[in-house]
Symmetry: C2
Subunit: 157 residues, 2 copies
């Protein structure tokens, strides 16, 4: 960890604190590439009626929009709090290769934001989960993959 | 499974097929509440430069916007393909309690969309993962939680 890491993390934490005053949830995140901040986000779940609007997801969306790319290789995500499984998965999809966080999952849980159940559910079979997850065959289900495979100008990712 | 399930799933599959022609990825999803479709989404990762724009995430965001709520209790999500860990986590955050999918994760992997590495990584300790995840203490890190706790008019979730 460097002084630069500490400075960026502190800014993510400040975004989280400001977020509360602005009506958002107490979380902030930013994306850094080559020592420049290219995206910022705070939690806007309740103010925007969007359960996916966590700070990290918003920061990823903002950074991708700013650099006009759907990947963020060589970037670091600084976040005020340990990412939940949704945000951690988004971090992998975005190809971010380093994450630095301040508060722990346990500290978030103490503040009323508990995602431990999601992490547990993702690691157990469907039939043991608290929600119903059902596989239904549908005879056209692979037409989309056939058309994708045959599309000459597709952008793979 | 009912005829209604089959009909809704078929519509999600059709969204996936149409998505390819529209420049999106080969995935579609819809959200149903009381037998009415309240949200739709297709994969727009590459056309919108947004790695979080999976069909399920887009359908959840659309449904929440339409019904002006950040939760989707009693809703079913129909999706053309087994949800990835990011979308599955979003499903939990949205409090959707039933998921019906057509193509399997393996079929998606065969088409070039492999999220098995993300699922594996979420179930192993940080130090064994392919990306760096670091915890750094920051003395103001819990100020946001203190302000959240003291905020009289907060919307909890």
């Amino acid at each position: 960890m460097s002084a630069t890491d500490t400075s960026f993390l502190k800014q993510a934490v400040q975004l989280a604190t400001r977020s509360v005053a602005q009506g958002g949830g107490p979380f902030g995140a930013l994306i850094v590439k080559n020592n420049n901040i290219i995206g910022r986000g705070n939690n806007q779940v309740t103010i925007n009626n969007d359960p996916t609007a966590h700070a990290e997801i918003n920061a990823i969306r903002d950074a991708c929009k700013n650099i006009k790319s759907f990947t963020l290789e060589t970037c670091t995500l600084y976040t005020s709090c340990e990412p939940c499984p949704m945000c951690m998965s988004a971090i992998y999809w975005a190809r971010i290769n380093r994450v630095v966080f301040a508060a722990t999952e346990q500290e978030a849980a103490n503040a009323g934001f508990d995602d431990a159940i999601i992490a547990r559910e993702l690691c157990i079979p469907y039939e043991q989960r608290s929600i119903l997850i059902e596989h239904l065959t549908c005879h056209e289900h692979d037409q989309c993959f056939i058309e994708w495979s045959n599309k000459p100008d597709k952008t793979e990712y």
